[in-house]
């Protein structure tokens, strides 16, 4: 499903954020990526959907050779992944409904299919009543759930989430974990970068700890492992 071989990422300013990561994540797994701030978690995740290009090494995601992928094929890769961004990245001028529908419109899906599917996921994240609102009219937790709805609306094989519970109170954080658990049960692979000690220690899954651009621990059912 996801396979990295000796991957390096050097940013234009000379910062090397990922220093030789090799990892294999199988279909249906649920993986936490933990580590201190600046460890390279976000960079590691961005390499998967090619927001950033690897400087060295090979990355395979869903049978796409990400490191060798031409610009024209990148949209196809991204349509098979659902990404929840740390800063949500919702389109401010579109309503909740339109934001979620957009991920299907780009695939040129039938309007009928779009309507049905968007209604389904809005119900799943509990936002049916807010469908006509604009993002800035929503709370942080609600915006986070819109981002999740958009990420899962085209039934991605892999859901990638960068601190999806950051800045949320425990109730909101757990309701988001319920959704993740749900779709993981349905067979979706989940990769989630997080600083949430409670969640990692309570809902035990595979834990990959990154420090200074390298994997220092890879443990099934492991704990968070940091004081904060």
């Amino acid at each position: 499903m996801i396979e990295m071989q000796d991957v390096y990422k050097k940013y234009d300013n000379g910062m090397i954020a990922v220093k030789g990561i090799s990892v294999k994540i199988n279909k249906g797994e649920f993986v936490y990526v933990v580590g201190p701030s600046g460890a390279g978690k976000t960079t590691f995740i961005k390499l998967m959907y090619r927001e950033e290009r690897a400087t060295k090494g090979s990355i395979i995601v869903n049978n796409f050779n990400v490191t060798k992928l031409s610009d024209q094929k990148v949209p196809q890769l991204r349509r098979q992944l659902g990404v929840v961004y740390q800063d949500f990245k919702l389109l401010p001028k579109l309503t909740v409904y339109e934001n979620v529908a957009f991920a299907l419109e780009v695939t040129e899906a039938e309007p009928k299919v779009i309507r049905k599917r968007v209604a389904e996921v809005l119900q799943k994240v509990g936002l049916t009543k807010k469908a006509k609102h604009f993002p800035q009219e929503l709370s942080g937790g609600e915006q986070q759930r819109v981002a999740i709805a958009r990420a899962i609306v085209n039934k991605p094989a892999v859901l990638i989430a960068d601190e999806p519970t950051g800045n949320l109170d425990p109730d909101n954080a757990w309701s988001i974990m319920d959704i993740f658990n749900d779709i993981n049960q349905d067979g979706t692979t989940i990769v989630m970068a997080t600083h949430n000690k409670d969640i990692v220690n309570t809902m035990r899954r595979r834990v990959i700890a990154v420090e200074d651009g390298v994997i220092v621990r890879d443990e099934y059912g492991g704990d968070y492992g940091y004081e904060h």
Binding site: P75, R79, F102, V106
Partner: protein, 294 residues
């Protein structure tokens, strides 16, 4: 691209016009102001051209025939002129006809000369190309039995120089203006797109192709151009008609007259519309391009 997608792009482009209210207004204003100036210059150019070609057509060469020439010699001269390739047409006028014209134009005082007519028999010659006139005149002057050849020499030459200068200046002004317009408008559109750079980035991250992102922007550029062209088109048509109605009666029968509005105002209006659409689409295309590289 299927029909639903095309419909979506249209819907999106209209919606974006409304949601970017001020920027839409700014872009349309930029198109409007520039095209209005272009419209004025285009009409000026049309008139300069019209006047120039009127004047050019009006210039003729007057060939005075030697008083000593007999009928046979005159016929030879006429034949020689008639066979020159640079000639459009010619007309023979006897000295009696010449005097009659003079009397008609300047009054009965000239009747005095009916007894002993001092005038020459004359051949009027028009050239196919006005700029050939000096050369043609010299050639005719070399034929035998010509007393003199007149065509307002220096005046005509200076007039032609002035007109072609005016035409060239007008042409460069319009080209310069158009460059300014493209620059101004693509800059305005660029500002609206920079403000939406984040949007474009998000669209691409969600899996939109470049053409999917670009299409609504191109359509929007087209609408901006079309909306911006409306006022300049209307003003060109209406104001020129009014100007013509006021000026035309006062200058009728004179050398310098305005171009009749039809069809030229409609041609200029059509040109403005095409120009505006091209500017809008090209401006959008150039501005959106650099945001698509993610």
């Amino acid at each position: 691209m299927n029909i639903n997608t095309i419909r979506r792009h249209f819907r999106e482009s209209f919606r974006s016009l409304g949601r970017n209210g001020w920027m839409t207004f700014a872009s349309i204003s930029a198109v409007t102001v520039t095209l209005m100036i272009v419209g004025v210059f285009a009409m000026l150019m049309a008139n300069v051209s019209h006047i120039a070609s009127n004047l050019e057509q009006d210039v003729e060469i007057k060939v005075l025939i030697e008083l000593t020439a007999d009928a046979e010699a005159e016929q030879q001269l006429v034949n020689a002129i008639a066979h020159m390739p640079a000639i459009a047409d010619y007309e023979y006028s006897s000295k009696e006809q010449e005097l009659a014209t003079l009397i008609e134009d300047f009054g009965d005082d000239w009747k005095l000369y009916e007894q002993s007519n001092p005038l020459h028999n004359v051949i009027y010659v028009r050239a196919l190309q006005p700029k050939d006139i000096p050369h043609l005149a010299a050639e005719i002057n070399n034929l035998s039995n010509t007393a003199d050849v007149v065509y307002g020499e220096e005046k005509v030459e200076r007039l032609f120089d002035a007109l072609s200068l005016a035409r060239n200046i007008g042409f460069f002004l319009i080209v310069g203006l158009l460059f300014t317009a493209v620059f101004l408008i693509s800059n305005t559109i660029r500002i609206t797109i920079i403000a939406r750079g984040d949007e474009i980035e998000i669209m691409k991250l969600v899996g939109a192709t470049n053409s999917f992102v670009r299409m609504p922007f191109l359509l929007e550029g087209m609408w901006l151009g079309m909306l911006g062209a409306l006022i300049p088109m209307g003003l060109t048509i209406v104001l020129y008609h009014q100007l013509y109605d006021v000026v035309a009666p006062r200058v009728s029968g004179q050398l310098i007259e305005l171009v009749p509005p039809t069809p030229v105002v409609y041609e200029v209006a059509g040109l403005l519309l095409l120009l505006a659409i091209a500017i809008g689409v090209v401006g959008s295309f150039m501005s959106v391009r650099k945001f698509l590289r993610i």
